[in-house]
């Protein structure tokens, strides 16, 4: 019992210092998320816990971003922000927790899907590109580096 207690205490003490839990994304936050960046490209990477392809897609996007400083990558989970601990653990396991992350905070996730992109049926992963000139592109499914480069260009 004692080691277990210590474990919990250690975790409780340590969590706030190291965790970057997803920030709630409400319908009211969507316009700001979709606003064109002042320069470069914003990449919105939509993912879900129940999507076996999503972490690989996030990793590919993170690798691309590492080589392109003008790319602003935002990771958005379509799962509820109440699952922040699970989302954070999965992102940590994929070494993606240093990036800005959001999670849905709406009773109707389909509504956020629609507000983010009416042409998106909610399939995951979904990658959305928003350029400084206001133009947008989107693709569904796991992307490789060549596909990402084509999409962002």
């Amino acid at each position: 019992m004692k080691p277990f207690m210590f474990l919990l205490a250690a975790a409780a003490f340590a969590m706030p210092a190291f965790a970057t839990p997803p920030v709630a994304l409400t319908a009211a936050d969507v316009p700001a998320l979709l606003a064109p960046p002042s320069k470069g490209v914003r990449v919105i990477a939509l993912w879900a816990l129940d999507c076996a392809y999503c972490e690989a897609n996030l990793s590919a996007l993170a690798d691309f971003r590492a080589g392109h400083p003008d790319v602003d990558l935002v990771i958005v989970a379509t799962d509820p922000v109440s699952q922040a601990a699970t989302l954070d653990a999965r992102l940590k396991a994929a070494k993606l927790d240093a990036l800005p992350t959001r999670a849905y905070a709406d009773a109707t996730p389909d509504r956020l899907n629609f507000l983010i992109d009416p042409a998106w049926g909610g399939e995951t992963p979904r990658t959305m590109i928003i350029r400084a000139d206001g133009t947008r592109r989107a693709a569904s499914g796991m992307l490789d580096s060549a596909h990402i480069a084509t999409l962002v260009r």
């Binding site: 879900a48 129940d50 849905y104 049926g121």
Partner: protein, 399 residues
């Protein structure tokens, strides 16, 4: 330094343990899970299954969903449940008043699950303790269950299963998606035959549509993978004599996605054997709910785009020449329940008609038939409703 490392590893362990615990009790939704299923028995009583916490609940309404005269917990001992979206509890009725219920039970690790079954032989007063349908007990995906009763009264259960993916991974062989399996019971659900594979390399996240053909056998229609992640649909009759199902490609939208559509199809077969189907595709970036009459091995006949952006989770029912399709239409103002209807066997469909609206969420719509009429089972905000398809919410869009 060593002490610091030990500390870090402790934190990492604690975080993983916490995550796994969350996963076990996980519902994929935002608030109470809203997955439900509905069926109407020959006496005109409506049966609804949904979930309350870790319990599946079966309810009977004798007044078409206004009130419930009976409410019974199916699994007396609580367990984690998938109860949302494409992964909802199911109910099917046997010819002697049997109630059959299935659901998928999340296991500890992500994407894992067991398919569970229970039955009531006393009109819903009691349910048998649930059992796992499949003999394979590996801690992997067996979920997205579907349930049907054939013309002989045999019970069929189909699901998505990753045992072949796991085996391929172990041999370092490529394997796309998951497999689709099924089992059946010829003794009113007392026992199930060892499961059989329907197809390899099918989609891992879309419900399987099951429908009874005029001769009584059950057909399956499900999203499969062709070539490099072309996610179209396959059709297969499901034999219960131990012979292998014959699987043929049945849609040809050419949607390429290495991902999870989370949009399963629906199938209903009329007395002439015409296989009416709806399915979702976003080929060429165009999200579309399609209708067609399946001709396995070939392009479907009478293919029609029923709905586009924001439309999802269509269900379909048929009676004689009457075909009904109900679906969710998301808008910036909230969620509409929309109907499209054909009176000529699917040759033509009327304009979309909004039956109901909610500002909040709802479980996927389910069409049920009674006395030649169709109703849409719906539960906006968790409140069950049976919406008559003759209902009209907004004016000006009547076909």
């Amino acid at each position: 330094m060593r002490r610091l490392l030990a500390f870090f590893s402790l934190v990492a362990c604690a975080t993983v343990a916490h995550a796994q615990h969350d996963m076990a009790g996980m519902t994929m939704g935002h608030g109470a899970p809203l997955g439900f299923d509905a069926a109407i028995d020959p006496a005109g009583n409506l049966w609804v299954v949904d979930t309350v916490g870790e319990h599946v609940r079966a309810r009977r309404s004798d007044d078409m969903g206004r009130t419930f005269a009976l409410s019974t917990i199916v699994n007396a001992t609580g367990e984690p449940l998938y109860a949302e979206g494409e992964n909802r509890p199911k109910i099917a009725l046997g010819p002697k008043g049997e109630l059959y219920v299935t659901w998928s039970q999340p296991r500890k690790l992500p994407w894992t699950g067991f398919v569970r079954f229970s039955r009531s032989l006393d009109g819903g007063a009691h349910f048998d303790p649930p059992k796992t349908v499949h003999t394979d007990r590996a801690e992997i995906t067996h979920r997205f269950d579907s349930l049907a009763v054939d013309g002989k009264g045999d019970v069929l259960v189909a699901w998505i299963d990753k045992r072949d993916l796991e085996a391929a991974n172990a041999r370092k062989k490529p394997y796309a998606g998951a497999a689709t399996y099924y089992s059946w019971s010829t003794d009113r659900g007392a026992t199930f035959a060892p499961e059989r594979k329907i197809a390899d390399q099918s989609c891992e996240c879309c419900r399987i549509a099951l429908a009874r053909a005029p001769d009584g056998h059950i057909d399956a229609f499900f999203r499969a993978i062709y070539g490099d992640n072309i996610r179209d649909h396959a059709f297969a009759a499901l034999p219960t004599d131990g012979s292998a199902p014959k699987v043929e490609r049945a849609t040809f939208t050419q949607w390429h996605i290495e991902g999870c559509p989370h949009h399963g199809p629906s199938l209903a077969i009329d007395a002439r054997g015409t296989r009416h189907a709806v399915w979702f595709s976003a080929a060429d970036g165009k999200a579309t709910v399609w209708y067609g009459q399946l001709a396995p091995g070939k392009e479907p006949a009478r293919v029609l785009s029923l709905a586009g952006n924001g439309a999802s989770h269509a269900d379909l029912a048929v009676a004689g020449d009457h075909v009904w399709v109900a679906y969710h239409q998301m808008t910036a103002q909230g969620l509409d329940l929309v109907l499209r209807e054909s009176n000529d066997g699917g040759a033509h469909f009327g304009e979309p008609r909004t039956l109901a609206h909610t500002d909040g969420p709802s479980g996927w719509p389910k069409l049920v038939l009674w006395d030649g009429r169709a109703f849409v089972a719906w539960n906006p905000g968790g409140t069950f409703r049976l919406v008559p398809t003759e209902a009209l919410l907004s004016s000006g869009s009547q076909p």
